[in-house]
Amino acid sequence: MTWLSRNLPYLVAGISVGGQYALIAIGYTMVYGILRLINFAHGDIFMVAGIIMVYASASMPIYVSIPLVLILTVLLGFTVERVAYKPLRSAPRMSVMISAIGVSYLLQNLVFYITGGLTKQYPALPWLGDSVTVFGVTTKRVTFVTPILTIILVVLLVLLIKKTKIGMAMRAASKDFETSQLMGIKINSVISTTFIIGSLLAAVGSLLFFTNYTGVSPTSGAMPGLKAFVAAVFGGIGSIPGAVLGAFLIGISENLIRGLGWTTFQDAFTFALLIIVLIFKPTGLFGEKATDKV
């Protein structure tokens, strides 16, 4: 019991960070499910969403700038796919991945140029950024909003994928890319939708994430992006429930490690956990069994 009461702040923070990772991880896992592409630029799209918010809120009221951030991030994700990934659809997988790394490099350098390389103060969002005390834990309200919002969004997404026509098309495309094209699925619009959903969730994730962390710099997307990707791999890349579960597990365990005072190993532990899981289950917790065809 004393362990619990001492570690409760870390546990709560972990659940919250886990929710934010989950929102980013969905973008990774959906894109991977369809294109078999590690979208290295996803973490940077998340960071750009933060930067847009910084600039938007400086000149506009908050209720205009939040929708603007969501719209611009979605546009960015859509454009990146059309410009950098679509021309390479028939190219080997390696080229697309390199293109993703190139986009990530470009976005980081662009933000560096615009901000002059300084860490920008993230605006304090009203209501979300207020301090509240629950169970003796004082924290920002966003900590409690995040897991709830994450679960709502994930349920909506799962419904979209299971019940709607576009969701069915997505499932078909991730099962077999070429056959689904033969069946009359407009593969480009399916892929664009995937990127739009991924970027939208990343934008929501960035609103929640940066409210906790106050500063945005050109490289602040790299670590959360990598962690979210690890979460997606952890849960079995391509599976949405797996990604969400993996993200919560990683968020909680990394904060408990921090609670033990091992801050240096906070990031390393995530990877260690991943490697252990991969050794015993080479395709993640919920991943499809890969079979080799001759």
Partner: protein
């Protein structure tokens, strides 16, 4: 052309290159940008070729290069700081626990060996994984290595997250080139041997390679260990070049940069990796530098030019290469004496043929 003449001409060309570098070093001031580019280019060429051995020739998608470079750099630094300087460097750890220094070249080789040992150990579990899973696991190991080296409990050895400095360095660009040429030569030799052919077979089709009697685990491990050994050596060179080491330099962004160089040069081309690493470094450090300065042409203030613009232009160039020149500079071809000879003789032959028809 005979094999023997080809080797002779190649060696002659390398000799000429060293002569040229020697003359340049006598003529130009030591701080000239050219030397920065040449040194850093040689280092990245070496690590690029070592990464190409894995990603391009063996088909193992590994992203652990920065971690192995870190191992090499730290081993070099830790083993070579003069005993008299230790108290200054290990300020917070009472001079550290290692109280001896060995010859720089031995330390460099030790760095490579340590990286190779780590690669062997990491490879035991990790090399069973496939493609993307392998990539993320090796990336993870690189991050774990970085965290371990920043751990303050290991401070007496690694100096925690503080800077390691005051170790002996070679200033001459010739040294960097000598090491890089020897190491790349060994890798090239390996790629053209039985091992190299086995690697390529694994890359092209694992199952077929296994059916032909190639021991997959054994060959993958060898490729991984050899590649890491040379990454370790290049890490030691990087330490010399930068004159100080800090674990926070060796982030995954560094691995991405090396991967970009390899891809731009052409996956599966040794000379491609070398050419592209020099071009990459020259562009990002030297040729585009004017973009970072406020410039006036007459009274006209050129817009957009300020700090950071160079990197934006550079990344746009990279995107253009990635999108429109998918094969990279060299593709899978190699730049060789034989190739040039063939190209020249074919042109001559064509000319003669053309002459005859006119005549």
């Amino acid at each position: 052309m005979k094999k023997k003449t080809e080797v002779c001409i190649s060696l002659l060309l390398i000799g000429l290159l060293f002569l040229l570098l020697f003359i340049l070093e006598q003529r130009l001031p030591r701080t000239h940008m050219l030397f920065t580019v040449l040194k850093k280019g040689a280092i990245y060429a070496l690590v690029g070729v070592s990464m190409n051995l894995l990603n391009g020739f063996t088909g193992l998608f590994s992203l652990g290069q920065a971690g192995f470079m870190l191992l090499g750099a730290y081993t070099y630094g830790i083993l070579t700081i003069p005993v008299a300087q230790r108290a200054n460097v290990y300020l917070y750890y009472d001079g550290g626990i290692i109280q001896f220094a060995i010859h720089p070249i031995l330390a460099m080789i030790a760095g490579g060996i340590l990286a190779a040992i780590f690669a062997f150990l990491i490879g035991l579990p990790v090399l069973r994984l496939k493609s993307d899973y392998l990539a993320i696991a090796t990336l993870g190991f690189a991050e774990i290595i970085r965290a371990i080296f920043q751990w303050d409990k290991l401070g007496p050895v690694t100096n925690g997250s503080n800077v390691l400095r005051s170790f002996p360095i070679y200033r001459s660009v010739l040294f960097y080139f000598a090491v890089a040429v020897i190491c790349i030569g060994i890798i090239a030799f390996m790629i053209n041997s039985t091992y190299g052919r086995a690697f390529k077979a694994i890359r092209d089709d694992e199952i077929a390679a296994e059916a032909m009697g190639i021991n997959l685990a054994h060959h993958k491990r060898i490729a991984f260990v050899v590649s890491s050994f040379f990454a370790g050596i290049s890490g030691a060179l990087l330490a010399m070049y930068q004159t100080n080491i800090q674990a926070s330099m060796f982030k995954s962004a560094m691995t991405y940069e090396i991967l970009l160089m390899v891809v731009i040069g052409g996956i599966g081309s040794i000379t491609g990796s070398c050419i592209s690493s020099f071009l990459f470094i020259a562009c990002s450090e030297w040729w585009l530098r004017f973009l970072d300065k406020d410039t006036f042409i007459g009274d006209f203030h050129v817009p957009l030019l300020r700090s950071g613009f160079r990197k934006v232009v550079f990344s746009v160039i990279i995107m253009i290469i990635v999108l429109f020149f998918r094969q990279g500079i060299m593709g899978t071809k190699e730049f060789s004496v034989r190739g040039i000879y063939r190209w020249l003789t074919r042109r001559k032959a064509n000319k003669q043929k053309g002459g005859e028809t006119v005549g």
